[in-house]
C-alpha cells in the first residue's frame, strides 16, 4: 500500500514538474501592478495592452483609492506580501522601501538595458528614484511626473464686467496671479460673488486631515515664504528652519486663504473634493495636482478654453511647488521579477513614453517634454513644464509616515480648527520631528 502511494506521489510530482517546465518555457506570467485608483491608472491599463501583446505576459492591476493607498500598499510591503509584482509607489516611500528591502535596486538592470537616468527630468529622478537622495542609487524608474498647480475659470476672468470690477477694487488687471498675495486677492474678490445666478467662492485648497492632503497643500505656501526642512549645512537640524519667521508667515498665509476664500464645508478637502468644487462651478480657482488637468479639459463644463492653468505663484521666499508623482519599482517579494523588469524596460522606451503622454499620463522622459511640440500639445503642457522646474518634495526618509502624521495634525489644528498660533504649530512640529529623528538615531 505504502509503495503504491509513493509511486503515485512520484508520478504526480513528475507530471507537475513537466507542466511547470512547459509553462516556464512559454515564459508567460501573470503580473500585477499596484497603484492608486485615479484617471492615469486607467490610461496605463490601456497602454499596457501593448506590453501584453509584445511580451505574452498578462497584466493585472490593483488600484486603491488615494485616501487608503498608502495604508493598503505600505501594509502590503511591510508584510512581505506577494500581491504586487510592480509598484507605482509614492515618492516619499522611496527611502523606507529602499532601506527595508521592499524594492529591487535597479542600477544593474539599467546598466544592462542601457537605460540612463540622464534621460529623465532631473527633479523626477531625485524625487522618485534615488535613495539616498543625490546619490546614483536607483530604486524606481520615473513613471508619472506630477506637481501641485492651479486651475482657474478663464471664462470668468475674461468677462469685461468682472474685469472692470476687479480693476476698480484692486487697481490692476484681473489675470493669472504672479504672487501668492495676488492669488489671495483674486480669491477674496470671487468669494461670495454671484455668477450666472449662482453664488461662487474663491478657491478650493487642500485641507484633508486623514492622509496627506493638508500637508501637500500647505507646503506650497510654506516653501514660497522661506520654510526649509532642515539646515542645509547640518542635516536634521530643524530649529529655526522649520519654524523660522518666514515659515510662520507662510503658515499664516495658508490659514488666511482658508478662512477668507474657500467654500463652506471645505474642512476636509483633497483631490476629488477640489475637482468636484471646480467642475460644478463652485470656485474660481482650485489647487490640485497636474494629473487632473486632462480631466478638466475633457469636461464640457470646464474644458474647451473655459479653464486656464498656472504654476504655484511666488512668495517672498521664492517660487516652488509641491512635487507629486511616482516611480515604478519591482517589488522584492515578487516571484516574477524578470517579467516585471521586462515591463519596466518596455515602459522606458521613448515611443511608449510618448504614447503615455498622449493617453493622459505625465511622462518624465526629457525627450518627450523637451520636444518642440510639447508645450503647445495641450493647454496645460507649458504649466506642467513650468511647475516641474520649481518642485520641492516632503521628507522621503524611511520614517516619512512618522514625519507626515504630526504635520497633518499640527497644521490642521491651526489652519482648520483655528487652535493656537502658527508659531505654536511649527514649534510643535519641530518637537515632533526631533523626536522621530532621535528615535532613528539621526540626532
Amino acid at each position: 500500500m505504502k509503495s503504491k502511494l509513493l509511486r503515485s506521489a512520484a508520478a504526480i510530482a513528475v507530471m507537475t514538474s513537466v507542466g511547470v517546465g512547459f509553462s516556464n518555457a512559454a515564459q508567460a506570467e501573470d503580473l500585477t501592478l499596484c497603484w492608486a485608483a485615479w484617471d492615469p491608472a486607467n490610461a496605463l491599463v490601456e497602454l499596457s495592452k501593448d506590453f501584453e501583446a509584445q511580451s505574452g505576459h498578462t497584466m493585472n492591476f490593483e488600484f486603491v483609492p488615494w485616501p487608503n493607498f498608502a495604508d493598503r500598499m505600505l501594509n502590503e510591503l511591510n508584510s512581505g506580501g506577494k500581491l504586487c509584482d510592480l509598484m507605482i509607489g509614492d515618492s516619499q516611500w522611496i527611502g523606507g522601501s529602499a532601506e527595508n528591502g521592499h524594492y529591487v535596486k535597479l542600477n544593474d538592470f539599467f546598466d544592462k538595458e542601457g537605460i540612463t537616468m540622464d534621460d529623465f527630468i532631473p527633479a523626477t529622478v531625485t524625487g522618485y528614484s534615488e535613495w539616498p537622495k543625490g546619490t546614483p542609487n536607483y530604486w524606481a524608474l520615473p513613471a508619472f511626473g506630477d506637481v501641485v498647480g492651479w486651475t482657474y475659470r478663464k471664462d470668468w476672468f475674461e468677462r469685461p464686467e468682472i474685469q472692470a470690477e476687479f480693476k476698480a477694487e484692486y487697481g490692476r488687471n484681473l489675470g493669472v496671479p504672479e504672487t501668492l498675495e495676488e492669488l489671495k486677492d483674486i480669491a477674496t474678490f470671487f468669494q461670495g460673488r454671484e455668477i450666472d445666478g449662482k453664488k461662487v467662492y474663491g478657491a478650493a485648497i487642500y485641507t484633508e486631515r486623514g492622509s496627506e492632503g493638508i500637508t501637500m497643500g500647505v507646503t506650497n505656501a510654506l516653501y514660497n515664504y522661506g520654510f526649509k526642512y532642515e539646515n542645509p549645512d547640518k542635516p536634521y537640524d530643524l530649529e529655526g528652519f522649520v519654524n523660522s519667521e518666514a515659515a510662520i508667515k507662510g503658515l499664516e498665509f495658508y490659514k488666511e486663504l482658508y478662512d477668507c476664500c474657500t467654500p463652506p464645508g471645505s474642512s476636509d478637502a483633497y483631490m476629488s473634493a477640489n475637482i468636484d468644487a471646480y467642475k460644478s462651478g463652485q470656485v474660481a480657482m482650485q489647487m490640485n495636482f497636474a494629473f487632473i488637468w486632462p480631466g478638466v479639459e475633457a469636461d464640457p463644463n470646464t474644458g474647451g478654453g473655459k479653464s486656464g492653468y498656472f504654476a504655484n505663484p511666488a512668495g517672498p521666499g521664492g517660487q516652488f511647488a509641491q512635487l507629486g508623482g511616482q516611480g515604478i519599482s519591482v517589488v522584492a517579494y515578487s516571484e516574477k521579477q524578470d517579467a516585471a523588469l521586462e515591463y519596466i524596460k518596455w515602459f522606458a522606451q521613448p515611443k511608449v513614453q510618448q504614447d503615455w503622454w498622449k493617453a493622459g499620463g505625465y511622462s518624465a522622459l526629457s525627450a518627450v517634454v523637451e520636444d518642440p511640440g510639447f508645450a503647445s500639445s495641450q493647454p496645460y503642457a507649458q504649466t506642467f513644464l513650468d511647475s516641474m522646474a520649481i518642485v520641492q518634495d516632503f521628507w522621503a526618509e524611511p520614517s516619512y509616515a512618522s514625519l507626515l502624521l504630526p504635520m497633518q495634525s499640527r497644521v490642521h489644528n491651526y489652519v482648520v480648527a483655528g487652535q493656537g498660533t502658527a508659531k505654536e504649530a511649527l514649534d510643535g512640529l519641530v518637537k515632533d520631528w526631533d523626536e522621530v529623528f532621535e528615535d532613528e538615531g539621526k540626532k
Binding site: N75, R209, G210, P264, D268, L405, S409, V416
Partner: protein, 315 residues
Amino acid sequence: MSRKVIDHAAQATPPAVAHRIRGLSDRAIAWIFVAPTIVLLLAINVFPLIWTVWLSFTNYRVNRPNKEVEFIGLRNYERILTDSDTWLTMQATAHFLVWTIVLQVLIGFSLAYSINKKFKGNDLWTTIIVLPMMLSPAVVGNFWTFLYQPQIGLFNYVIAFITGVDPSSFSMIGEVSLAPWAIVIVDTWMWTPFVMLICLAGLRSIPDSIYEAAECDRASKWRQFWTITIPMVLPFLMLAVLFRGIENFKMFDLVVQLTGGGPGSVTELTSINLKREAFEKWRTGFASAYAVILFVTVFGLASIYVKALNRVKAR
C-alpha cells in the same frame, strides 16, 4: 434508534482503542474535550496579550525587520502618559462615551417604554426604529457626511428651517465646537435602537401581576414607574450601558468616515490615535504600550461595573 447507533459505534471501535479509553478517568476525558479550546484560546488570545506586553517594553517596529530590537523599560509608558496629545484624545473619547451613553439610554428607554404599550402598528414601528443599527458603520458615516454638508446637506437645512440661520453658515464636521457633537449625534442615531431593544426585553419580562397588585394597592402610575418599572429594568439598562460603553471605547470606523479625527484632532478618539501609531507610524512597541494602557483601563472599569451589575441583579 440512537441506542442502536451508539451500540454500533461501540462495536466498531477497535478493542485496543476502547481499552485505552476505558482506562481513562472522567477528569482525563474532560481534559481531552476541553484541550483544543484551551490551546486555541492560548494561541489567539493569551499569547498575543503576553507578546504585546513584552513588545511594549521595546522599541520594536514591525516595518524595520532588520533593525535590532532594544529593551527600553518603561520609556514608552512614560512617553504616552506625559504626552498632552494623548490626554486630549482621552478627553475626546470620554466626551464621546459619556454623551452617547446618556443620550442612548434616555432615548432608548423612552422609545422602549412607548413601544411596549399595545397600539396599532406596534411591530411596524419597532422594525422601522431598529433599521439604523442594521446598517454598516462605513455606510452610515458616508451617508451622514452628505447630510452634514453645509451647502446641500439635509441636516443643515432642517436646522436652518428651525432656527432661521443660513444653512451654509455652519459646518457640523468642520468646526471645532460642533464636530464632537456631530459624531455623538450619528452614533446616537445608529445605536439607540440597540438600547431600546434591550430595554424592551426588560420591560416585557416584568410580570403583569406586579402592576395589578400595585393597582390594588392604589399606587399611582408615577409610583409604579419608579418602584416597579425602573428597578426591574435596571439590570437590563446596565447591561446596555456596558455593551455600548465597550463598543464606543473602541469606536473607529464611524468617526474615521465622518471626520477622520478632525478638525485638527478634536474627534481623534483613542482607537484612531492607536491605529495611527501602530499602522501608519509603525511604532509597534509604542503602540503596544498604548494598547496595554487602554486594555487595563477598559478591563478595570468593566470589572468594577460588572460587580455593580451583579449587586443590582442580586437585589
